[in-house]
Amino acid sequence: MPRSRDFRARAAPRRRRASRQNGRRRVAGRALIVVGFALSILTGVVLYFLPAIQVALRDTGQANTSLGGDPQLQPVSASEHLSSTSPFTLLLLGSDSDSKFHGDYLTQSMILTRVDPVNRHVTMLSIPRDLWVRLCNGRNGKIDQAFLHGGAQCAIQTVENDLRVHVDYYAWIGLQGLVSVLDDLGGINVIANNPVMDDYYPADLSGGSPFDYERILVLPGAQHMSGTLALEYVRARHDDAYGDFARSQRQQQILIALRAKTKHISIADIPDLAASLGSDFQTDMSIGQVSGLLPIAGSVPLGAITQVVLLPPYTISEYVGGQDALMPDWALIRPEVAKYFPAAV
């Protein structure tokens, strides 16, 4: 007993030291595990949101990776419009961004949108791409050239000057971007108004020559559209009694169909969407503002969406400067714009 007691007596300090060392090791080990898991979670989160972060950096002026050095708009102040109840305007721009344009893009689609969050009302005005206007550089030309001459900034200035309206934000999307985002959302459900046929549809996204043609047919009626089918629906125009006007109406249809999808999108989905859009998307809205749009878009009832297309007599077809153009009747157009976009200056 004494030996053992002595032994215990001698052994006790070593055990206390060993116990303290083991305790420190256990704590250090546990801390390492916690830090490890925290790091792995953080890494996962960063990787997951990396595309969104890249977009955010780009959109806040930290980087500008697309469209050959367009002047980037000033970053907007933190979601003042979307977090408040004020109506705001958004200029939606769409371009044929395939290889035959070598980065010099026109905007085949321009839709000026006004969102009124309080009254849950949306107005969409399609601006014809052939509209003959004074561009931001002071020259006259088709409005689709504004983006070519000065990117989104010039497109906004041109719209603001000619239509006498204020534009709060813009969003630009290319062909492949539209296909990608629609596919990422699982496609959309649309009621196609009529059989949309085109024997001379540009085969510029199928990998061959961007100058090739293909035949397309979109059947009429309610249906599920993939990104490619939806693009065919909004882009075909050759066999159409109303050409670009009909195309504008179909583009608005797709936007309305997208509204139904926003009910199923959360901010967590935005990174994937941003990644699939890549350089085929540009906006001056922040991710927070885009995510703020989702519940607004999802809550607007179908009957509270006003669609406007500038058919004759608002525009008249003429041959100007060796090309077909639409001459605007500003005396008719501007009062209409002021009515639908009451913040007009």
Partner: protein, 350 residues
Amino acid sequence: MKRTLVIIALMVASCAAANRTLAVLQTHTDTGSLVDTTSPQVILPGTIFVSQEGAIYAIHDRSVGRLALPSGGAWIQPRPLPDGSLLVVRRFDEYSDLYRVSASGKVLNRLTNDGQSSTNGTLQLDHWILWAGVGPDGATVYFATDSPKPAPRQSYEVDFSLWSAPLSGSIAVGDDGVAGGTRWSVPDAYTGGDIEPVPLPDGDLLYASYANSGKGQVQSVLGLQTAPMSRMVSLTSPAQDCGSPAVAADGVTVAMVCSNGGQMADLEVATLEGSTLSAPRVLVANCLCNSPSWSPTGANLLYMDASDVDGNFGLWSIAGATNLHPGSPRRVTDASVDLDATSAAAWVSG
């Protein structure tokens, strides 16, 4: 040291697991194939043929089977024939052909050869053939095709017109028309034209006709003709914007889908009284519905609808749809199934 390595391994494993979990979750958001899902939610008599992602499926009692059709192209728009076989359209990217196949999917004969560009290299010489249906004599097939059309590079016009041709033998669709066929209609240019022919028991032809409103819109009406190239009588107004006609076995009850120019539609039925249509009764309002078709007895109506919260186009049924007080809509297919909404179901007895 060993513990550190274990922790690092755990970190790598957790990242890999998270990545895999994401992939699995993404997979699970896809819609299901018809044969992979549970049995039909509603048991209906006979066999119902539907199209999904280019395949034709037969729904019979509690089972679902895929027809063993040749691969390539999308098999759509099955239509029953009196002998139990089916007319089916095989659609490729730039043309479509009409086939007669057995109920199990064996190709009995190919009726058209519309992929002309495969031999002449000019894709504008290809043709579409769609919405085929057999007439009351059981020997004449009615269809819509984009023939005739201008020679390549002469015009952008390409619209559907209606034709009929003998079911026996081949149907030669060319740029000048259908050899040996009978032309029924001349489409309004640049509108999409005339589609969805439904031959009636008395020999008349009911169809959907698209026309330029002159006010910035293309609208459709249900049209009726008593003979080839005769004057079309409009059964509905352009403002109703109706299409997808389907006639019940009684020969007079017409189901149709009318959008009233909007982004949603109504599924309606009306009675054909000579060359007029009675006031329609709305069976389903404010729906994303399309492609109604009737049961062999004409009592039950099938249609495609994606109005449910999942947004998938399912097959729906309304019992007693010809009655003043029809049953409530019931979903036949599983909620995860997304059918081809532009392809009406074919319902045969037995």
